[in-house]
Structure formats: C-alpha cells, structure tokens
C-alpha cells in the first residue's frame, strides 16, 4: 500500500472511530494524516513484532490529541489489530483519548499535555549519539503547541548539540483550539525562529506526499525542522480550516458525507 492509499484509508477509519466513540480531535487528526502516512510507509525503520527493537527509529507524536490518527497508523503498520480501534475510549481500552506508552505498543512516550514530545525526542537523539547508534528520531508537534516554552528549551539544546539525527515536523495548520495561532499568540516568522536556534529549516506542503518524502529522507548536519503547511480538517470540505472542528464530533449525516468525500464509503 502506498502512502496516499494509506492516508485515504486512515482518514476514513478516523472518521468512523470518532463517530463510534463520540469523542476525538478530528481536525488535527486530518491535518497530520499525510505526515504520518509518509513516515510509516516510506521513512521509519521499525518492527511491529518487536516494538522495543533497540535500533528502531523513534517516532513521537507530541500533539497527543491526534491519537486516533496515530492509533490507526499503528494498527495499519501491524502493531495491533485494526479491530482494536473499535475500543477507542471505551472502558478499560488501551486506547485512551491520548496515547500512553505503558499501554500501546508503538507509542514511544506518553503525550497529551503539550510541549512534552520535543524534549523527550531530543533526549532520544542525544542517547543515540552517546550509544554510537545510527537510528533517527522524528517528532511531530502541532503549531499552537509551540507556544509552550519547553519546546524552546529543547530547540535551543538540539541546536547547541547539532543533532543531525533529529527531525521535527510542525503540523502548521494555523489553528489552535480556540482561534488562529496568529491571532492568539503569533508564531511567525517560525522559520526564522528555528533558524536562530541553530536548525535547518524546510517549508513544504504538508499534504503533498512527494514533498514530504523528499524533505524527510535527506540527511542534515543540524537538527531539521520541516514546517509542514497543512489544513485542519483536510479531506472533508465542511471541516477544513475551521477551529470548531478541533474536537467536534460529526453527526451520522456528516460522517456519511465525509466518507463519501474521502472515498472510503464502505
């Protein structure tokens, strides 16, 4: 299955899972879907039968509220059965509203409160260096999340250590929970900020799989940030670029329309 097909199936599954559970963060799930699809199809080295394989690449979804996209991706990658997704948010399910390392195979670190993923990812990258190992670390943050100061502590240290084995992808959908990032606490010029912190910066269309692949597969001497310009709610016309779809649950009618637009009506 290529990354585009995986992304299409992921979006359909996310919509069904959130509809079934009656909760979720569909807007952010859809903005990050293509990033996850390319990473898990073409970039990351991992072994779902041995989730703690020491030489695996590390992947951290810092925007833990996009858990359903991650869970779907992990299931499609073989970490657990797709049927497990039906238990999302159910009593005693391993699939919380936010991913927990101790519960879900393939989840490297628990996330949910924002600003946690990048520091942990920096620690992973430093650890690989200390051990003299070649595996790489990839972190996805939201953009609103970059208002958390812990990210900049980590970004400064990654730049200082010239962590060329670390890649950060910012899901730049320009919307946070309540409003646009630039109206809330502006992030731009985001590229200049990371450049000033000692990072290599790339700006791409975060829904263009060829651009994603090309940006993710190169080598770099410094830590690399890929500012992936995305659309919240991408793939379902009435959800796109609207803050209200941060965690609104679609009606059955909306699910049906969404599945039709995505092309996964089953």
């Amino acid at each position: 299955m290529d990354s585009r097909e995986r992304a299409r199936l992921t979006r359909g599954q996310v919509l069904r899972t959130i509809s079934g559970a009656g909760l979720g963060h569909v807007g952010g799930d859809f903005s990050v879907t293509d990033i996850l699809a390319v990473l898990f199809t073409d970039v990351l080295r991992f072994d779902p039968a041995n989730p703690n394989w020491p030489e695996r690449d590390r992947f951290v979804l810092s925007k833990g509220h996009a858990a359903v996209s991650l869970y779907t991706t992990l299931a499609m990658s073989g970490y657990f059965e797709l049927e497990e997704l039906d238990s999302f948010a159910a009593e005693q399910s391993m699939l919380n509203g936010h991913p927990a390392r101790a519960k879900v195979p393939g989840v490297e670190t628990s996330t949910g409160p924002l600003g946690h993923g990048l520091p942990v990812g920096v620690g992973m990258a430093v650890g690989a260096r200390i051990r003299g190992e070649q595996w790489k670390t990839f972190v996805v943050t939201g953009d609103g999340e970059l208002q958390e100061g812990s990210n900049w502590e980590a970004a400064m240290f990654a730049g200082h250590r010239e962590l060329g084995n670390l890649t950060l992808i910012v899901d730049r959908n320009r919307l946070q929970q309540g409003a646009r990032t630039e109206e809330t606490n502006a992030l731009d010029p985001l590229d200049e900020k990371f450049d000033a912190f000692g990072w290599e910066v790339k700006q791409i269309d975060g829904h263009d799989h060829d651009e994603l692949r090309s940006a993710l597969m190169g080598t770099h001497a410094k830590p690399l940030v890929i500012i992936a310009n995305t659309t919240k709610g991408r793939g379902v016309s009435f959800m796109e670029d609207l803050a209200v779809w941060h965690h609104k649950v679609p009606s059955q009618e909306q699910v049906d329309q969404g599945l039709e637009e995505i092309g996964t009506h089953s």
Partner: protein, 307 residues
C-alpha cells in the same frame, strides 16, 4: 559528618565504570550536584542541558528510551516544582527507568530563602503513581539507594541531602529495599519516625528522653513511597504516641503519609514536626530550631504529646 552528595557522586562513578548505560543529566548544576569528577571521567556521558528543568527531565526520559540509565540531577526545588508535569508524564506515566535526584532538599539552602527551599517535594511526588520516593539518612544509605536505583527498572526520586549528617549507629543493610524501614532503637513510651536529615536528630532526642527515663522507639523511614506500613502499624499498636520528623511539609509529606496508615489501620495520637510555613531568613541551624526540629525541641514535643 557527611554531605550526602559525596557518597552519591562516588557511588555513581563506581557504577558508571561498570555499566556504560549510566549517564548523568543536569541543569548547569555540575558543581552543586557534585558531578565534577563524573564529568572529568565520563565527559561524553554528562548531558548538561543548561538552565532548563522541563527539558532536563524530558531529555532524561528520552535517554531512558534510548536504552541508557539516566541520573537526572538538579536542586530539589527546581527538578520537582519546575518540572513536575514532566516528572508525572514523561517519567512516571511512561514507567521510565529515570532516576531523579533532588539535590540539597529541605531548607539546606538556608539564608537563600524559601524560593530555594524544597519542602513541598515529598507531598508533590508522593501523589504520583508508581514513583518510588527515597530519602537516605546517611552516607551508607545514600550509596545503597543509588545502587538500588541504578538497577531498579522503574521511576525513582532520590532526595540527596546537603546538610551534613553523621553515620547512623546501626548496621543497616548495605542493600536498599524499598518499602522497608529501620528501627534504630526501641522503647515503649513513644515512637519517633524520622526521614533524611532528621533521623540523627530524632536519635539525639531519644537520648535526651532516655536520660529522663522516657524510652522511645526511633524509626528511619527512608522509603516514603512505597511506605513500610507494617512497621507503622506495629508502632501505633505498641506505643501510645507517634511523632514524625521531616525537613519538609507534613501535609502530604512523611507526617501525612504515616497518618494515612494509622487512620486506616491503627488510630493513635500523633504529632507531626516539619516545615509548616515558608521559612523566615536564617541559617540551617537557625531554621532547624525555628521549626522545632532540633533534638531538644523534638524531645519537648514528645513530652508534651505524652502529657
């Protein structure tokens, strides 16, 4: 008298020589965490993140994920208070084998003031599921706790005192066992339960009381979580008064922990000594007296409790 940061550092270096997975992480605290010798011997295994505690604890969790055994060191008020959510999520909720080392806790920073005192740490950390909280009382126990923490596959907080303590007059085991305590002397009048820097002061108080014919039991409660409930219940059943002594806030600290056990299993009269307010300006000795934690004041509390 020993500053426990020294046996901490000596033991860490000894372990690091034998185990390449052991690394140290700090927040520009090479000196105050006593990591100078470690840095000299293992320059590539000291990760100094600068003045950034949230990142420091997150980095520690990442290093553990990479297969290393990080000892994450910083002044106790900052590694706990500043990075509490990282301690909760990145370390404890992840079940990461990270050893958090709170250096110079309590009011060891004396005149520097309440910003630099770490008196809330036990209450904060004791509430976190799965995090073992250990407060060694002397040099030997510090070494034993460091060895245990390096081998224990789970999250640990070690509270490493700076205020000098004597070697306790006991043959307590060279191996540390979480959830256990040591009974350092026995007496039927009352039980004094101390932790960390307060244990030797509790022993001195027991001497004063013994001279008056009041024989007390003294317990070194180094393992705050998990707690040695059996010893507490026995003390509550065998002596009519329990006095807890700690260099921290009793609300949620050692006092609160012991009271939870007695309330459930063996209600008993209790007194809880500790730092119940932000400290006024003063040296360690002055603050010890201010909070009624010197031997004479502990003895006074026991007498009053028995009256």
């Amino acid at each position: 008298m020993t500053d426990c940061r020294q046996p901490f550092a000596d033991t860490l270096i000894e372990l690091a020589r034998a185990d390449p997975r052991i690394v140290a992480v700090c927040n520009d605290s090479v000196g105050s965490s006593n990591l100078g010798a470690f840095q000299q011997e293992f320059p590539d295994r000291l990760v100094n993140v600068g003045i950034a505690e949230q990142n420091m604890v997150g980095v520690g969790a990442g290093l553990a994920n990479a297969g290393l055994v990080p000892f994450v060191c910083g002044a106790s008020p900052f590694i706990t208070g500043r990075a509490l959510e990282q301690v909760k999520v990145d370390v404890a909720y992840n079940r990461s084998h990270v050893v958090l080392c709170g250096m110079s806790p309590g009011f060891a920073y004396g005149e520097l003031g309440a910003t630099h005192h770490s008196i809330e740490d036990l209450a904060w950390l004791r509430a976190i599921d799965g995090l073992d909280v250990v407060v060694p009382a002397d040099a030997r126990q510090t070494s034993a706790a460091v060895r245990w923490a390096a081998a224990h596959d789970g999250p640990v907080f070690l509270r490493i005192s700076r205020s000098p303590v004597p070697e306790l007059p006991t043959d307590h085991p060279t191996k540390f066992h979480p959830g256990t305590s040591q009974v350092l002397r026995t007496g039927a009048a009352a039980t004094i339960i101390g932790t960390g820097t307060m244990v030797w002061r509790a022993l001195e108080a027991a001497e004063i009381l013994a001279d008056e014919g009041i024989e007390t039991t003294v317990v070194n409660m180094a393992s705050i979580a998990p707690l040695d409930e059996a010893t507490i219940v026995r003390a509550a059943q065998e002596t009519p008064l329990l006095v807890t002594v700690e260099e921290s806030v009793p609300r949620g600290g050692l006092g609160g922990a012991v009271a939870e056990v007695t309330a459930h299993h063996a209600p008993v009269r209790m007194r809880m000594l500790g730092t119940d307010t932000f400290a006024p300006t003063g040296s360690v000795e002055q603050l010890t007296r201010h909070f009624g934690l010197d031997a004479e004041s502990i003895a006074t509390t026991v007498r009053a409790g028995l009256a």
